[in-house]
Symmetry: C2
Subunit: 454 residues, 2 copies
């Protein structure tokens, strides 16, 4: 009878049986909101016991080893290091000073992929450019022999869109300045704080362009340089930036799983990145993200073995060119992913849920939105595009969810020495874990395609 | 008749005639609150055109030259440089790293008067001490061969009293640690922020004690080191601090005056300091103070020539041992001062007025308190003791007023690279100028003794 009843049940409502989240999921998520310690344990541990984890370095390797031991200690299955080789750029000396007419030092940091000035440095006139557009509008040769100063400022936005607006000054500003003759570029930090801690980050010299020394001034220093340019006909700066490309070194991704009941089903992929810039200790970028996804996976497992495998990707070398995410896509591109979600925007509260299947799977989209509403998370009509390390999901055209975190404070700290544990608010971190627990628990127990072909 | 009437007036109410503040004073102060630009002009100018002004250096000398030109351009009389010689200590390399068991760099800065580790640095075990009292309680020899880590924390207080509570860890902690065998000392920054910008400041090795290398970690680094000490039996740190005493160099005070109608009367002395620590640009400590006192003096002069001379002292070399204030007291000790006031606590609003003559001259005390009440300044029963650079007034036992500024934010910035112009709130700066204008205007037109002998 039991067996018959079961069979009838399966036949009568297979979707419901498979689709149903485990009975205790909501309670587990509610408990996480009040009491989760696991995400904090990860971010506290890795920032204290490892610290900065610059891509391609021994410190990043120590981070992988530490994370693998932590994942194993917390009962994850199939914990593995997946190494790959990469070109590694390292920061060395970095100094800037105004030599005339108002001599004083300035706080600077090199941008990733910056060329070197050589140890003797370079001294040249500074040309101020109020925006990236003003730089682009310059005629060829306009910056010949000069240091370009792009002082495009950035304002606080909750959704991080200010980064997209100001970011080009860093991403491609130095290459554009080089193409117009500049011998170096300094930018106003792509950041929203007023501290003397400049924001690093990668810049890109496309194939065929000439790399030049490129650094970011802190916002107070950029303010000061702007004032100097208003007061003097000519301002001259000395710049010493001696970063090096040290050649090919090993980096790696760490993967781990909560094995599902049906391993033939494509897994739910949760991603973060384990590397960090060298200036801080990688707490909000992105120790917190790895802690959040691991804690959520464990919370889901605590409500019973999920239908689908939950796969964690702690990517390597995100900061300097998404080398880890690319290696993962190469290695696993032919393994279908059911849905991918990434946590890589700090540790502040999630305020919005976006998916890319609102039309193709409206029922699931609405179910997810309803399930997280009690945590203050609003639905949206924006289409999720996913984080940097889940390119595999974009390649496969599969389901993606963005659990949007509040970015109001994020760019005060992003890529600075101030990315440290004390910036993580434990209560907001727990809200992240609660929302992720709820969402991952539903997805990992969803039998049907999450983003059906339309 | 005119002459007779005047004589009658003098005879009938001499105190009132002389004691009366000029008719336009209140209006002048009110206007300052809305529109004063002069204090801002000073602090913007000196931070932009000079920058850091480390005592005894060429940069401090440029600061004096700049300030003298500014004072002359603004119509002050008797602008003068009063040079003196001093022993000059300069910061050089500064690096700290944990070498085991959790290798990572830490943000450190040398304390003024720190000894050098030599360029090769020193490596030793760290001993954590939760407070200055815990350090004092250690038996002799307890720190033999160790690096003492004093992690006495500091909380925000409006009146700055947190500095008195935590300060000894910096002022004398290294000397006490040395007396117990420590080969170096690192302290938690004496500051209330959570940025990776450690707070420098002077430490003192009394005659007969052995100077050792001494630095401050930023608060996030001190947090991290505390966590490490909780997790590991032994934590080892490498410290490279190579400051130098470069020998005797010239420093100086800048003085300037608004000449009074009766130069036989002792002047009103207004003080600030022109030097700054090398890490920031000396905006809140103490460019703002010099701007405030100069603007107030000019505002008073704008209401008519004051009875008493108003004398400005822009002291040199306050930060490293009040050399300027001491030189001023030596040079001018036999010239009586009527009353002294110093501005050296940032640029945030004045919230309280203290005098040291509430008992001996209750009428004037109350008149001052009533005159500034409209700017939100409360009277108090605290007895004013004056700032560092007006030792001359303490030596003379003369009148002192403290216009207490709000210190809530001050120790976030104090002695860090973050002491820059953007931290000055123009509205609060103007409130300072308004209150000083009102107070100085009354004092400079007061004929009688401000603090009569009791």
């Amino acid at each position: 009878m039991k067996s018959f009843a079961f069979a009838v049940g399966v036949l009568a409502m297979p979707a419901i049986l498979h689709a149903q989240a485990p009975a205790g999921l909501a309670e587990q998520a509610d408990t996480a909101l009040e009491a989760d310690r696991m995400a904090w344990d990860f971010v506290e541990g890795i920032t204290t016991e490892v610290g900065p984890r610059m891509p391609g370095t021994e410190a990043e390797a120590r981070g992988r080893k530490w994370a693998m031991a932590w994942l194993e200690a917390n009962g994850f299955a199939n914990v593995a290091n997946e190494p790959y080789m990469m070109q590694t750029w390292l920061r060395r000396e970095e100094e800037a000073e105004i030599v005339s007419p108002f001599p004083q030092p300035m706080a600077i940091t090199a941008l990733g992929n910056s060329a070197s000035t050589g140890p003797e440095g370079i001294t040249a006139q500074v040309v101020g450019l109020p925006s990236y557009a003003a730089l682009q509008a310059l005629p060829d040769g306009a910056l010949e022999g000069k240091i370009a100063f792009i002082t495009h400022d950035m304002r606080v936005t909750q959704d991080g869109s200010g980064y997209s607006f100001a970011g080009p000054a860093r991403w491609t500003g130095p290459a554009v300045a080089a193409s117009k003759g500049a011998i170096a570029t300094v930018i106003r930090s792509i950041g929203t704080d007023n501290h003397r801690t400049p924001h690093t980050g990668g810049t890109n010299f496309p194939e065929g362009t000439r790399p030049i020394p490129a650094g970011a001034l802190s916002n107070p220093d950029a303010d000061n340089l702007e004032r100097m340019l208003e007061r003097a006909e000519q301002v001259r700066m000395k710049l010493v930036l001696t970063p090096q490309v040290v050649g090919e070194t090993e980096s790696g991704n760490v993967v781990a799983e909560i094995t599902g009941r049906d391993v033939s089903l494509p897994p739910v992929l949760l991603a973060c990145h384990l590397d960090s810039w060298d200036l801080g200790t990688g707490a909000i970028d992105d120790g917190a993200g790895c802690g959040i996804i691991a804690a959520a996976a464990k919370n889901v497992a605590a409500t019973g073995q999920p239908l689908r495998t939950i796969r964690l990707l702690f990517a390597g070398a995100e900061e300097v060119g998404v080398f880890g995410g690319a290696a993962y896509a190469r290695a696993h591109g032919d393994e279908p992913v059911a849905v991918a979600i990434e946590s890589d925007f700090g540790a502040d509260r999630i305020w919005r849920i976006d998916t890319n299947f609102a039309e193709s799977n409206e029922g699931l989209h609405n179910r997810l939105a309803e399930a997280v509403a009690r945590f203050g998370v609003a639905p949206s009509t924006a289409v999720a595009t996913g984080g940097a390390d889940i390119g595999i999901a974009r390649d496969q055209g599969t389901a993606i969810i963005d659990l949007q975190q509040d970015g109001t404070r994020y760019f005060d700290l992003h890529h600075t020495p101030d990315d440290t544990l004390d910036k993580v608010d434990p209560a907001q971190l727990r809200q992240n874990v609660a929302v992720w627990t709820q969402v991952v628990g539903i997805l990992a127990n969803e039998a049907g395609s999450i983003k059906p072909a339309e």
